[in-house]
């Protein structure tokens, strides 16, 4: 303890103690000389002998310094200061190494945070490995899994022996009115025992009880969502109720009826998917026979000791029984069990691990490259190290010094990495939440930062230790003589590094080509004409079934609403349509079409077309061109002749050469025929990459659809008009909820967001790979050039020009890069075929994409070798030769 204290003092008063030692040495020598002179020696002789007997003063000072203070701390500070100076003296080298480290650490940290947030974070369900989701399988539908029909579920629940409980959740929508703005809340209605199966306790309040399932009021009509209680999500609690702690027991106006809030779930409870409200699903008389409509999500909790396989067999038995009992609906219908964790991360799990693996690989490559750079620097620094070693620097001390340098580099790289990871994650949040579940839990959490620190430390060791050991193990005498052979690597090891660098170039080549193909696909896609002009169009969904019960009421409602909307200042025109293009869950109704006069086919063999309800102004508003005939007019009404408009695709498909105008068609299973009064241009509906489909428009005035998307074209920025538009809608019917306000451009861009996400991802990796290949090439070439300095000097002495020498170095880089490019080309063709499904308008053999990457890489090879080549060509003849 005392020693520590005095040492700490020693550390703080280092300068004074050092001066003290100098004085002591001076005094010692003086006294010794005095003695020797007294003994008859000449002063010069005496001085020499005193110094000799005193020993190596420098090394004594070093030992003294280490003794006097906290050697670790002191030398660490010294080392850090020295390392920082060394690094700053070579800004090019430092920047290159830093960029490689920051990027690779940042990338792996970002991916780790995704893996951690999405895959590793535990789910909020107790004993989650006993929780299964249960699905129907039907080869006729081709899908690996389907949602479940309620009739089947009821039989499963009755006959199964493997689960403690089975429960369903059905997607539903609750219209919230009362305080604040009315809105449609996406919800789940769940069967009795749902929360017991899931097992997650509520944050506030309670689960549903058996009593809640009997509380439907016959007066309100007995439908599945008629219960009197709700449990709300954490998000809704915060958003709508400001996190009110006394919310339990309060009432909400849902679907115009009071419902009591009995519970609030914790934020991480999002099952079956993220929605904001749960309510009991009341059993319906027709449930028993409903085996064709599949839209229930089923979960079950296995009994303790029952394996997934046992449960699968149990369910397969029931499926076989049901198949025999209900051959018409259940033929071929099987059951599939998926553990809840797999269901929630379905699809993203392998992708994430692959990406994480790729990022780790890049990190390893970055370490190897920075190690290579350090080694190349080592050749330049061998003289310095030899001198330091000769004047008394211990091997350990030198290694530590070199490790401090890499440590400093790695630390800066780690900090840069955190910044890059932060930026990358922010970018990720801008991309659509798309298919990645629980993405909101992705962030730079403690665990992620810990991971980053560990990676940084490992990086420092990985890229610093080998070069440091190699540098100090050099024969000192040799190094002092400056022989360039002192550090010559064994040829085999050089070969290893060459292979590594060539492989990096190949990888960069593959990724670059992939990025180019995807970029060209996206560009081609964006140039596709959707068939309408999306600028300054705002859309919002309005559902009026609950408020307007008859078609007449609904027709009147929309006529009035659109009238108000079009008179709102700033609005150019207003219309309504049943399925707006690019709306992610636009109600797409396919209908069987029978042309009157054509040979009659059974309903299920008739060709189909999309059927869309629209108001008269829709076509003009969307700038959908009229090719023939007329659009809908105010004269079209319930009591007038039934009319329809077809798009060109439908006109061609159903009526080929004959004109479509005046033809009559029967839609669906029957009803009066409609006369085609117009032909309009095609519009793309689901995505720009899909060909236009046959489409049949019917006037809203003859259908009275209650779920419509109101569309408004504005004179200026549509977002500024949102409050006025809300006012206009509520002025017709107060409290009318609506949802999903979006501009047409927004909706369009969401449909290719996945494509953009893939492009961004692969471009990111390609950029990394190019960067690393550059660093790798630079490290290797400078190393080789430094080693051959003597040889270069000799060549120049024998008459080679600087240009010859320059060529020699650049040629080496080019041959390495060329090898990588050749290998990469093969890989690129293979990879191109693998991503064929993601391409649009380009083939995997697209010459522009395939030629661009090699050109870029070879240019980079030249650039990377330029600096070492110039240095080699500018070598001082005499110095280089003397060094040999």
């Amino acid at each position: 303890m005392r020693t520590l204290w005095t040492r700490l003092r020693g550390f703080l008063f280092a300068r004074r103690l050092d001066r003290d030692l100098e004085r002591q040495i001076e005094s010692h020598i003086a006294l010794h000389v005095e003695d020797l002179v007294r003994g008859g020696m000449s002063p010069q002789e005496a001085r020499r002998q005193a110094a000799r007997e005193f020993g190596n003063a420098t090394s004594i000072r070093e030992v003294y310094r280490e003794t006097r203070s906290l050697p670790l701390l002191e030398t660490l500070l010294l080392d850090v200061r020295y390392a920082a100076r060394t690094l700053l003296r070579r800004p090019g080298f430092t920047a290159l190494a830093l960029a490689a480290l920051s990027l690779s650490i940042g990338l792996s940290t970002a991916l780790f945070s995704i893996v951690h947030g999405v895959l590793l974070r535990s789910l909020p369900y107790p004993d989650q490995d006993r929780l299964m989701t249960v699905w129907q399988t039907d080869p006729k539908k081709g899908g690996a899994r389907d949602e479940v029909a309620i009739g089947n579920f009821l039989d499963w629940r009755l006959r199964q022996r493997s689960f403690e409980g089975l429960a369903i959740a059905e997607p539903f929508s609750h219209e919230l009115s009362g305080d604040g703005e009315p809105e449609a809340i996406r919800s789940w209605i769940v069967s009795e025992g749902f929360f017991e199966v899931m097992g997650t306790p509520p944050l506030l309040g309670r689960w549903f009880t058996a009593e809640d399932y009997r509380a439907g009021s016959p007066l309100e009509g007995y439908y599945p969502g008629a219960a009197r209680v709700v449990i709300i999500s954490h998000g809704l609690w915060q958003r709508r109720f400001g996190g009110d702690p006394n919310l339990i027991g309060k009432q909400l106006q849902l679907r115009g009826r009071p419902m009591t809030i009995v519970g609030v779930m914790p934020p991480e409870f999002q099952f079956p998917a993220k929605r904001e409200l749960w309510s009991p699903r009341l059993p319906q008389p027709q449930d028993r026979d409903s085996r064709a409509a599949t839209y229930m999500t089923v979960t079950g909790r296995l009994k303790p000791g029952i394996t997934r396989e046992q449960a699968r067999q149990d369910m397969a038995r029931i499926a076989a029984e049901l198949e025999a009992e209900h051959p018409r609906t259940n033929q071929g219908v099987g059951v599939r069990l998926i553990p809840i964790a797999d269901y929630l991360t379905d699809g993203v799990r392998p992708v994430l691990w692959i990406l994480f693996g790729a990022a780790s690989l890049l990190l390893v490559a970055a370490c190897a490259n920075v190690g290579g750079l350090l080694l190349a620097r080592g050749v330049e620094r061998r003289h310095e190290l030899a001198v330091r070693s000769a004047i008394g620097g211990s091997t350990r001390r030198l290694v530590r010094q070199l490790l401090t340098e890499t440590g400093l580099l790695a630390l800066a790289g780690g900090l840069g990495g955190v910044a890059i990871a932060y930026g990358a994650l922010r970018l990720l949040m801008f991309l659509p939440p798309s298919q990645v579940p629980r993405i909101e839990y992705v962030g730079l959490s403690g665990a992620v930062l810990l991971f980053c620190c560990a990676v940084t430390a490992l990086t420092a060791l990985a890229c610093g230790l080998a070069p440091a050991l190699r540098m100090v193990r050099v024969d000192l005498a040799d190094a002092l003589k400056s022989s360039s052979r002192a550090l010559a690597a064994a040829p085999a090891r050089q070969r290893g590094r060459q292979v590594l660098v060539a492989a990096q170039v190949a990888l960069a080549m593959v990724l670059l080509t992939g990025a180019a193909l995807l970029a060209r696909s996206l560009a081609t896609l964006l140039a596709v004409d959707p068939g309408f002009r999306p600028e300054r169009i705002l859309s919002l969904e309005v559902h009026v079934y609950a408020r307007a019960r008859t078609p007449q009421e609904r027709i009147a409602y929309f006529r009035q609403t659109l009238d108000r909307l079009s008179r709102t200042p700033g609005v150019v025109s207003a219309a309504a349509v049943s399925a707006f293009p690019f709306h992610d869950n636009a109600i797409d109704i396919e209908t069987a079409v029978q042309v009157v006069g054509a040979p009659e086919l059974p309903v299920h063999q008739r060709p189909t077309a999309r059927i869309t309800t629209a108001t008269p102004a829709y076509f003009e508003l969307m700038r959908i061109p009229l090719r023939d005939g007329r659009t809908f007019g105010d004269a079209d009404a319930l009591e007038t002749e039934r009319v329809a408009i077809v798009n060109e695709a439908m006109a061609r498909r159903f009526f080929d050469a004959r004109g479509a105008l005046g033809q009559r068609v029967v839609t669906g299973t029957g009803g009066a025929p409609r006369t085609i009064v117009g032909v309009v241009g095609n519009t793309l509906r689901k995505g720009l990459s899909e060909p236009p489909q046959p489409e049949l428009y019917v006037p809203h005035a003859q259908s009275g659809t209650g779920s419509m998307t109101c569309v408004v074209r504005t004179a200026a920025d549509p977002w500024g008009l949102v409050p006025a538009i809300k006012e206009a809608i509520w002025s017709v019917k107060g409290g009318q909820p609506f949802s999903k306000i979006a501009t047409a451009e927004q909706l369009m861009s969401t449909t290719h967001s996945e494509r953009r996400f893939h492009l961004a991802l692969i471009a990111l990796f390609a950029g990394m790979a190019v960067m690393l290949a550059t660093v790798g090439l630079f490290g290797l070439v400078s190393y080789a050039a430094n080693q051959r300095r003597g040889e270069m000097g000799l060549r120049m002495a024998l008459g080679a020009s600087g240009l010859n020498v320059l060529g020699l170095v650049v040629r080496e880089a080019l041959s390495l890069a060329g090898l990588g490019v050749a290998l990469g080309l093969v890989g690129a063709l293979v990879a191109g075929n693998l991503i064929r499904a993601m391409l649009f308008g380009v083939t995997p053999y697209d010459p522009a994409s395939l030629a661009g990457a090699p050109a870029l890489l070879l240019l980079i090879a030249i650039a990377a070798s330029a600096a070492p080549a110039l240095r080699a060509a500018r070598v001082d003849l005499m110095r280089a030769l003397r060094a040999e």
Binding site: Q24, H32, E34
Partner: protein
């Protein structure tokens, strides 16, 4: 280099403490004294005395102050503290024990 000083470290401390037990001395005087008593049988790099002295001072076994020699030169004088005296006793006893043990060992092997 490291091994030599390791070997000497413990012994050097003991020798310095012993010399200082006879009265305060400066570094050069200690070095001279070591040379005399060892009859040059082992060579001490005189300089290595100073880190050793610092170490002893850090442990509180010696204290130091600047003064002047008989010839009027300035020098740093070291003297034993009370705990230094105690330490000398302990180390001497250790040394005797080790010496005895090694002596017996050598006799037994003969």
């Amino acid at each position: 280099m490291a091994t030599r000083s390791d070997l000497l470290q413990g012994t050097l401390d003991l020798i310095v403490l012993r010399i200082l037990s006879l009265g305060p001395r400066h570094g050069y005087a200690i070095a001279q004294r070591i040379n005399q008593i060892s009859e040059e049988s082992f060579q001490v790099n005189q300089g290595s005395l100073y880190p050793a002295l610092l170490r002893l001072e850090q442990r509180g076994w010696v204290k130091s102050s600047w003064g002047t020699t008989d010839t009027g030169r300035e020098a740093k004088f070291f003297e034993l503290t009370r705990s230094g005296r105690k330490q000398l006793a302990v180390e001497t006893e250790n040394w005797e024990r080790v010496k005895g043990a090694i002596g017996r060992l050598l006799e037994a092997t003969e």
